[in-house]
Every structure is written in C-alpha cells, then in structure tokens.
Symmetry: D3
Subunit: 68 residues, 6 copies
C-alpha cells in the first residue's frame, strides 16, 4: 500500500491515556513528543502500548507553520 | 499567547512551491521532512523563504498512528 | 510568534465540559457560540475556565461554506 | 437536513481568489473575516460571489483555543 | 441550504458508543462501515440512534488516497 | 503496517484535476463519488491515473453526520 499522506514521523509510544471513545497517544520522536487523538477502538485493534515502535501520520493540509 | 495546539516541531524551511491559492512548505525537522499546505497569503504575510527557522504546528486530533 | 493560521476569533469561554481525554470548550464570540474540542491536558495547561478571554483558532482548510 | 457540525457563522462573502483546484473564500462575519479554502468546483456549483449571504461551517474538532 | 462540502455518503446508523464529550457513530454505507467521531451534544441534538437514515459528511481536504 | 485510521473506502479513480500544488482526485465508490484534495506531489509519487484501484482514506474525527 502506498499512501498520499505526506508525513510519517518515526517514534516510540511514550504513553497512552485511554478514554471511552477516544484516547491520547504520545509518541517520542526525534523532533520531540507528538500527541495524537485516535479512537480507543484503534488503540485496541493495534494493541498499542508504551514502548511500541510507531509512526505519527499527518496529512499535509493539517500542518500549519509558525515563525518566531 | 498560549495555545491548546499540542504539536510544535522545530525546523527550517527546506523549500516552498507557490501556488495561486495554496502553497506547499517543506520543513526540515529532526524527525525528517514535514510537508505543509497553507494559503499563499500566509506564505507572503510571514515572508517565508528557504532557510527560515519555523515550527510545524499540528492539532492532536489530526495525528494518526501506524504500527509496522 | 507569527502563525500561518488564518482565523482567530476573539471571545470569552462560556462553558467547558471536561472529559477524560478531550473536552468541549464553548466560546462566546460576536458571531455566536463557537464549539471546540481540545485535549483535556490543554484545558489544564492553559488553566481554561468560564469567563476567560480567548481566541477560537481555525486553519482555513477546515472551513466550509454554506449558502441559504 | 440537520447536521452534527457545531459551528455555523453567519456572514457575507468579501472576496474570492479562484485557483485551478482550490479557491480561497473570505467571509465577513461579526467576529471578523473568516478565511476558507474549498474546491473551485464548489465555488462554481454554489455560484459564490462577493456579497452573497453565507455561513462559515466548522467541525468542533478543528477548532483550537488560544489564551493571551 | 447548499454546502461546499463535497462528500455525503448515504447510510444507516449501525451503532453508537456514547462518551462524555465525544461519541463514535458507525454508519453502514454501500462502501462499508464509516466511523465518525462527533460531539455527544450533537448525538443528542440529532437524537441519533441505531437504524437512523443518515449521511456521512466529509470535506474533500480531509480525504487521502491509498494505492495497493 | 497497520493504521489507526478507521475509514478505507474501496474505489476506482474517476478523474483527476491537476493543480500546481494540490490536485483533486475523484474516486468512484459503491457509496458514490468521493472527492479528495491531495498534493500534486502525491499524485505523481503514486502515479495516480483514471481507472486505478484505490482507497479513499479518512480519519474518523473528520467525519460528520447529517440526518434528513
């Protein structure tokens, strides 16, 4: 499978806060911690847990730019 | 200003493809290149150009997770 | 910090519904109430509470248009 | 038709920048100008033009919060 | 009301997982089950329940493409 | 690779409108045509063309619900 999604940041799951419907997954990447909100069903289907090797995946249209 | 937006990845503008309405900004970060689509008006307002120090900014609800 | 994000609507926090992972923040603006879903961690980090002066922040690619 | 989308801000089209694929529509609302990026096909299908009465429509999960 | 939103997929509510702030609504469509995360307030305002005829509504900028 | 993204709708590319920065890809699915806006670089990298078997991929937080 090839995907049009441009951004795939390698990292490791740092922690998960499980909610009823959605969960927060924090991913340690070389660019710092990336926070993700996904459905709890996906957390369970992927059997995500701290320490897992994962990618943070982000569509380019969802990325903004800040300049100091 | 403090923001609720969780993800701010430090990087440097690698290149910009200018379009009439939206532009693609590629940002070199320690986690690899991050592609962003923003309005061309914002590119001009921020006077973005290759080499600028910037942050890629992403709301957590826009981040998905992949597991190899 | 300058941002590429185009929309910043001034308002006041009207109410917050706190969830385990995400919370709903309603903001009174001159254009009516704007509802936002952000992580509960951000609600706590910003110490958001009813009456606070805030901005609702929205990337232009997330805005649609309706015509009566 | 009723919709789950929470935010519908009344306004008037202030200007349109037409691109090949996507266009920028600026909407004057009581909370200031709201910028939207939609497909040019939608601009044509809705026959949008400056002065039209419209709503800016935004899903709550796409709204962030900033605090001064 | 006409909308700029391009995608409206006809279906029937298959199931709802209610959370405090957001809920997951699964919709049976001819293209398979489509999962949606909306605010619980919208679930209640629309009085959504299993079996309801609904549309899954998606802005084109939120759709990616995969190729096998 | 397993992904947290919940929605993958099978279809065939119906047509592509190429822009400088972003392109519109229309996908014929059993639920009707699904329109997608992705970067033109992704269209080229995936070598997308009319007739290709693809999936439309959508994060659940980007899906709204309408009720007639």
């Amino acid at each position: 499978m090839e995907t049009s999604i441009r951004n795939h940041l390698k990292g490791k799951v740092k922690g998960i806060v499980l909610g009823e419907v959605v969960s927060e997954v924090e991913i340690d990447t070389p660019a710092g911690v990336v926070a993700s909100v996904i459905t709890t069903r996906s957390v369970k289907r992927l059997n995500l847990k701290a320490g897992d090797d994962v990618h943070a995946v982000i569509k380019a249209t969802a990325v903004s730019v800040e300049k100091p």
